[in-house]
């Protein structure tokens, strides 16, 4: 099953490689990994999407907790949460296709953020499934370039992953 693990980690050189090294050394898979500093510059927040049986996920969270640089973590998938991913896609947009692509972007609440006579860059934000759906709605041969951030997540309600 797919799990989204949010991690607060010391913002130090090499902290990211401790996490990625753990996953490769123990044979766990990483679907996506995003990381950036929080409002407290000494801490980074990481969102890691992985999958595995309950036993494997339990080991992953225990092994992550064991890393000295990991301050705190939660498995967002255990409770109600919000997940977002940002994608920018550069598409070939000429003649009649320009209108069609614009309409499609509107349906997905995408924004066109760069325009040339032959291309658009469209920004889409949403859950993985929405971003996937937008990609498959585009004509495959119109896509020039795709860049995705991977998922970021936060829990709903009062609870938060803080110190």
């Amino acid at each position: 099953m797919r799990h989204i693990i949010s991690i607060l980690i010391e913002n130090e050189a090499g902290a990211l490689s401790r996490v990625s090294g753990l996953f490769s050394a123990r044979g766990y898979n990483i679907e996506s990994l995003t990381v950036a500093p929080t409002q407290d510059p000494s801490l980074s927040r990481m969102t890691l999407v992985t999958s595995g049986s309950d036993e494997i996920i339990e080991q992953i969270t225990k092994q992550l907790n064991k890393l000295i640089d990991v301050v705190k973590l939660i498995d967002l998938s255990e409770s109600s949460h919000i997940e977002r991913e940002l994608m920018m896609v550069k598409v070939r947009a000429v003649n009649g296709a320009r209108e069609e692509i614009k309409r499609l972007a509107d349906i997905f609440r995408g924004k066109i953020i760069d325009v040339t006579p032959g291309t658009f860059v469209i920004e889409i934000t949403g859950e993985k499934s929405k971003v996937d759906a937008f990609l498959s709605a585009l004509a495959e041969d119109s896509i020039i370039e795709v860049v995705r951030t991977g998922a970021s997540g936060i829990s709903r309600g009062d609870r938060g992953l803080t110190l």
């Binding site: 225990k62 000295i68 110190l163």
Partner: protein
Amino acid sequence: MELSGAEIVIQCLKDEGVEYIFGYPGGAVLHIYDALFRQEDVKHILVRHEQGATHAADGYARSTGKPGVVLVTSGPGATNAVTGIATAYMDSIPMVVLSGQVPLPVIGSDAFQECDTVGITRPCVKHNFLVKDVHKIAETIKKAFYIATTGRPGPVVVDIPKDITDPRVKIPYEYPRSVSLRSYHPSTKGHRWQIKKAVELLLSAKRPMVYSGGGVVLGNAADELTRLVDLLGFPITNTLMGLGAYPATAQHFVGMLGMHGTYEANMAMHDCDVLLAVGARFDDRVTGKIAEFCPYAKIVHIDVDPASISKTVRVDVPIVGEVASVLTDLCDMIQAGERRPDREALAAWWDRISHWQKVDCLRFDRSGTVIKPQYVVEQLYEATHGEAFVTSDVGQHQMWAAQFYKFDKPRRWINSGGLGTMGFGLPAAIGVKLAHPDSEVCCITGEASIQMCIQELATALQYRTPIKIVNLNNGYMGMVRQWQEFSYESRYSHSYLETIPDFVKLAEAYGHVGMRIEKAADVRPALEEALRLKDRTVFMDFLTDPTENVYPMIEAGKAHNDMRLSPGMIDARELA
């Protein structure tokens, strides 16, 4: 006090109470070596290879419980130390390794003797640091000792660039009194509710079994374990790493378990209905086939490391905490309650175990004149009255040492169980002897393993650490040969060492005493003679039966009740 970075490094070691540092100098650590030269509190042991430094520090740590300390230079100094760091990591040994690094401005430029030490060691340390500021040296070393010695112990590497140890830059020094890390809070006390559940389960057992590991030794919990086992009257088995945590000669001990464990220990594991695992990690050499591991048992697991729990085997009652504290709570709770173990069921269970014990699974042929390796270990045990510190290398001799030297005390049996590092025994013995100068220290080894760190014979002479080396020389990498006999139709692919040095001459060349023993009748007299040479390292080269195998054996992937016994031995299930 104003000190340079190099002086701070040494002063920190003094403030930590470090007695010995094992190391080898080189360019990046010359400032530190100069600071070391100008003091006498921290004694430096010059090894002949950095692997030896880590193993010697490791032996010191295992035999004392104090952290082992290592100092190596950048590049090859650090990479040579990696095997020893990984060895300590696998067996959770507290160790602090200080490594030199090229100066900060040239890091990343492929400078002379540069390597990414933090990157290379990351997967085999508990934690590591690259210090980038002279003001951070003291704080970082304090953290390193704290992390290495608390919770589940392990090695910590502190990589120190040369320029921050510059003797011309002096800064005020104060060693931090305490350290707290917001991201590191090792568990201490076990959860009371879990302990209560464990007590109920233990007292309801009809066929209980205690399985204890290296965590009991590391957690200084041997007394607490003995108290619990004697209170309950349950049978106990130790892992290879746990030997000595419960006295091997005490009545409840049924021997080591696992691949080369005793028949009775493994059969009892298979048939038990409640298993108490203490400071053990369900290693594959212990569990055999996971799907058939303790099929009838409810399992209680005490461990300081939450990640050890339910890693390979699901357990029913996990208790996270320091083993000594949890065992004390368990004993107290049992003693405070009314309920006692089921005496009748326990007597019937012991009857079954004694039936298994009748197989006498460690029996070996004593008739010939050829030296049986088991006999050498047995005689060493008697000649040293079971009181020696014994280090070993890896292979058949290691298993025979574990089977035939009956350890009654913890921290006496020093071996690389997790990583299985050949070359460990000799340097480890030097570390043990430095820590225990008045005790007998023996290294049980084989002709293949001993050659992997043989250069440390020079270290043993330089620091006058008299060790008794018991070399079980059968001409083969014995364990490899055994597996090739069993699993590869005796195709002995590259396991025979055609050219073996004359160990007597070699020992003499290094300034020690060498002895060659070729007949069984000469074994005991040779041991006695060697032990009489109190102030000399003696290399005893025993030419042993090259065809001898380690029995019993659970072949890889088989279950506890599927053991291969010595040829001619009868399985208890076939005994009347």
